[in-house]
Amino acid sequence: MAHTFLGYPRENGTFGVRNWVAVMSIMDNCNPVTRAICQQVDGTIAVTTLFVRGQYGRDLEIAYNTLAGMGRNPNIAAVLLVGLEEQTTEEVARRIRESGKPVEAIHLQPHGTINCVAEGSRKALKLVVRASGARRKPCPTSALMVGVECGGSDTTSGLTCNPVIGQMSDRLVDDGGTVIISETSEFFGAEHLFAARALSPAVGKAFTEMVLRLEKEAMSQGIDIRGTNPTPDNMRGGLTTIEEKALGAMAKAGTRPLSGVLSYGEAPAGKGLHFLDAPAPAVENLTAFAAAGCQLIFFGTGVGNPIGNMVSPTVKVSGNVNTLRTMADNIDFDASDILEKQASVRAIGDKLYDFAIEVASGTRTSSEILDVRETAISRFAPTI
């Protein structure tokens, strides 16, 4: 039986789970106008960014590709770009136009803040009216691309929420969908197990090289990474070493073969399980998922990390009974029956897959409703 969710078919053959108009800053000095427009116009989301001005070379390409990737995300019906001047805005605009969706732009030079907020609000109003004409229709689950993440991890993460997310991942891959796991440093000590799942030796080698390159870079600082990763809250939660954390984190990727590897700002070319080379901290990692085209993100947490992504609704999953009590407002899915009632990972994972279809069809997540959302594009080089 073909599975479906109720989503928004897009011009380029993709399917959205939300239908927002994105108001997007091209660089940090545009953020105040972006926020002001979103405050005025319902139906929009503010995609802000830091830096970009002064970035160059590979780092600037990553910034443009990541902004454009978020703009192309199927959850976005149309984009209003807020730029400082036309040349830099066009770099992002042309990359989004490939998707066929409406792209408009306003510029701070020479109009100034007040005129820009007014003109931008009028443009956003028209885009929202047009977008709101779309209706949810049955869409194939094979069109879903989900990112799998963990944050605020503890030892319950590797026992409950992460393997539950892994079962959901396996179900989606079996249905012809796409799953992306990331957080390169959180493979230190588990990379041999994951590389063995690669569909080809070349993919396995590329993955292992990404992990070892980052470890080498970290070691060149001459310090013990413990205290940074695992973090102090990870360690209070019982995680002792990065190896232990990695073995638990990898469970999010289920058991299916690794089809391909991606760089920051890149989107997968095919279906199945992918690895994305991106820093572990949640905000910059979730941003890379949104730019890759993920319509949904599943985020396992132990001691609790509430943050979600702006463009890609983020489902918080926890199996820690204490966190489910103290941070209940921030958790969307309870996996505690595994430790408390000896429920099977498979049974709870299957329930999470059902919940994924519900969220894809319109059920809202806590981080969307509370607006606990943030955007950050990773930087790998200095500005000049």
Binding site: D154, T155, T156, G158, L159, S185, F188, G189, A190, L193, E215, A218, M219, S220, Q221, G222, I223, D224, I225, R226, N229, M235, G237, G238, T240, T241, I242, E243, E244, L247, G248, G302, N320, N322, L339
Partner: protein, 96 residues
């Protein structure tokens, strides 16, 4: 009685899913059964050593190496950063 989960038969640590106090008997679940007496407090989510492990020996969870014992570990002892060393990302041990 506090519970602790053993994930693989090769493991020499188990993860507590309740808070354990010194002198309490802890019930092992998962890939091992039996009981172990806690020599000290072990917080929720932390690990207890379930087999005497000499200093320098591998510490295993999920059947995989998660580090090395930085000092001898006794069965029943709290096993964490004070007696287990990571082997990865150790720039502090690299000759510069």
């Amino acid at each position: 009685m506090p519970r602790a989960i053993v994930l693989n038969r090769a493991d020499n640590v188990a993860t507590l899913i309740d808070t354990g106090h010194a002198g309490e008997t802890c019930a092992l679940q998962g890939e091992a059964s039996g009981e172990i007496k806690l020599l000290q407090e072990v917080p929720f989510g932390h690990k207890v050593c379930i087999r005497d492990t000499p200093a320098g020996a591998e510490v295993r969870k999920y059947g995989q190496v998660i580090g090395k014992a930085s000092k001898a570990l006794k069965a029943g002892e709290h096993a964490h950063a004070h007696n287990i060393e990571s082997a990865r990302g150790r720039g502090d041990q690299t000759k510069r």
